[in-house]
Every structure is written in structure tokens, then in C-alpha cells.
Subunit: 210 residues, 2 copies
Amino acid sequence: MPTLYDFQRAPSPRRARIVLAEKGIAHDTVQVDLGTQEQLGEVFRAINPACTVPALVLDGGAVLTDNAGIAAWAEAHQPEPPLLGRTALDKAEVASWNSRIEGECFMAIAEVLRNTAKGMVGRALPGPNDYAQIPELAERGRARLLHFLDRFEAHMTGREWVATGSFTLADITAGVALDFAAWVKVDANAGRPAITAWRARLAGRESFSL
Amino acid sequence: MPTLYDFQRAPSPRRARIVLAEKGIAHDTVQVDLGTQEQLGEVFRAINPACTVPALVLDGGAVLTDNAGIAAWAEAHQPEPPLLGRTALDKAEVASWNSRIEGECFMAIAEVLRNTAKGMVGRALPGPNDYAQIPELAERGRARLLHFLDRFEAHMTGREWVATGSFTLADITAGVALDFAAWVKVDANAGRPAITAWRARLAGRESFSL
């Protein structure tokens, strides 16, 4: 059975938890305590030299070291229900929205958090190398996030799901990202009725309680 | 026939050009002059509101607005030769390396370039919104790029291609990114024999002359 290296409170491994749950892929879970920087220790570094969670160790010993790899593997290993789209056009739409949400939303929130949090002084990026905080990058991240949310509200108006007519990986990435926005005191729902209605649909899925 | 909105000198649309060439997908090309900010004008904004190239307009009128969407569509539309891997594990490896190269290399170079170039004052990110340059982000980008290149050299040692045993999208993203590094005066080959040998293999492919 695969083993997911996880940290319950963090948004990135939550994406993998939800993917595995939606696919019904049984797995063991090991918590890696990011609070005590366990991800930088020898034991976890031997599993994932990138020192990030999620990481998924498969039965044969192969290690998937990020959400991109885990989602691609899960879709091919357990095709139903599809999370990456069925047709060529749907696959493009899911990939495109997933990428945009990662770059314009998830990353923007991370820029705010990692460049302001007292616990992240000298650790403004995840991974094995240390980087100093850049206060201007936190400000820019907040501006980018607010611009994205306005565009996303316009996109979601009249839509049920982020991409295609079905629930997909783009909903998972967006849902986790928008919950992550609360960490930097941005309420993505406030004044955005289409986002609010969509977030309520997500809340109806058991996987989003994970 | 699909139409690729392109800009000959820019690295991002080059990724799409190479994907379409490797797949043998015939298409028309329209140049969008980023040098005169044509991407921000009304005509192109109506095609891609994100104001970025590449964009690929399909026969039915659907618009693929980024490399993520174009690669996913091309793989499903024209499965042979596969660029995203054949097995579940190979698909994971390609997705993972593609994502890492985008985040740790392509983005790092863009951070250096966009936060230092005189022609990009006030335009430190692509897209419809203006952002000021952040000199510290350029410095951090250069440090990140050099860290990545050392890890990439170690990865490529003894390997023929970036991911799996075949040429894949990860080679395209990495090859374009490493040529892009020259824009910020970093020679990715210097002192890195495994990268140099792999780059020579890429140069043997007709698509890399595009």
C-alpha cells in the first residue's frame, strides 16, 4: 500500500490527500512535523531530497515528490473518476486552470505568508536552501492574490466547477488555495457570491473535510 | 488548422513551438510583438485576456491560453510520440520534473530578468496588471537558479533524458529554460559536463532549431 508523507495542517499535502480520497486510493499516512522542521532532517531528506511534503512512496519503492507527480500518477493508476478531464479540450482546460491557480493564487498566498511570518525568517522558500524574507514580495503577493480573486469570481459566475462541467483537479487546487488564503487574513468568499456558492459545493464532498 | 500566437524571441512560446513540432501538429503562426507590448492591446487581449503568449486557437474556436493547456491538449489530440510518459510512473516523473523546472529554473530566470531589465520597469510580471521591480527578488532568483543547476547537473549525470528513458516534455521545458538562462548571463553548460552532453543531444533534434 502506498505511504503518504503528510502534515495535517499544511495546504500542499492537503491537495494530495484530497486527490487520493477522490480516487479511492488506499494508503498509509506518516506525519512529517513541519513545525519542528522535521522535513529538513536526515530521515525525511533520504525519502525526498526536496524536503517538501507531500511525498508518496509507492509499493515498488518509487517516490513521488510533489503534487504534480502524485496527480499524474493517480489519474493513470486509477482512471475513474477522472480528475484531469476526459476529452483533449477538457484535459487542456483542467491543466490550464490548475497551473493558473498554482501560479497566481497558491504562490501569491505563499509569498505573503513566507515573507512575513516570524517563524519563517530566513526560510522564505521551502526546500533545502535558506532564503531571506523580502517584505516587498509579501506586498506584491497580496496584490496579486486580490487581482486573482476578482478574476476568479468573474470566471466562476454562472459556473458549477472551475474547469469543464465536472469536479476536477482544478477545483481541488483552488479549494485548498482559497482556504489557505485565510492564513494571510484574506477571506476569499467576502463579497464574492460565485466563489462562495462554489466553496459550499466543495464543502459537500467528504474529501474536503480532510 | 490551429493558430499559434507566438513571439519568435521569447522562451515561453518556444516551448509550445517545440511541442507542436515534436507532435507533428500543423498550424498557422501569428507573431505578437512583445517588444511593442502588442500583447496588452485590445486585439490580442480579446484572444487571451491573460495577455501572454503562447496561445493556441483550435479549429472550433477554443483558445488554449498557456503551455500547460497546450501540452495537455497536444498529448491527447496526437498521442504519438508520447511527451508526457506512457506508464503511470513515467507520467508522474515527467509531470514532476516539468513542474520543478518551471518553478525552480524557468521562474528563477524570469525573476532575474524581469526585476532588472530597464525595459521592464513597472512590468515585473507578465499579464494585465503592472508590478514594480524588486531588486532583492532578482538576486534571490539568481541564487535559486545556481542552486537548481547544481542539482540538475547531479540529476543528469549518467542519464540520457531528464525524465524516464525517453525524450519528454521535461526535456523541452528544461532545454528552453537553460537557453533562457543566457539572457541573464548564466551559462548553464559551463563546468557542468552532464548538462552539456544532454544539451548537445537536444541540439540534434530539428524542433530545437525553432
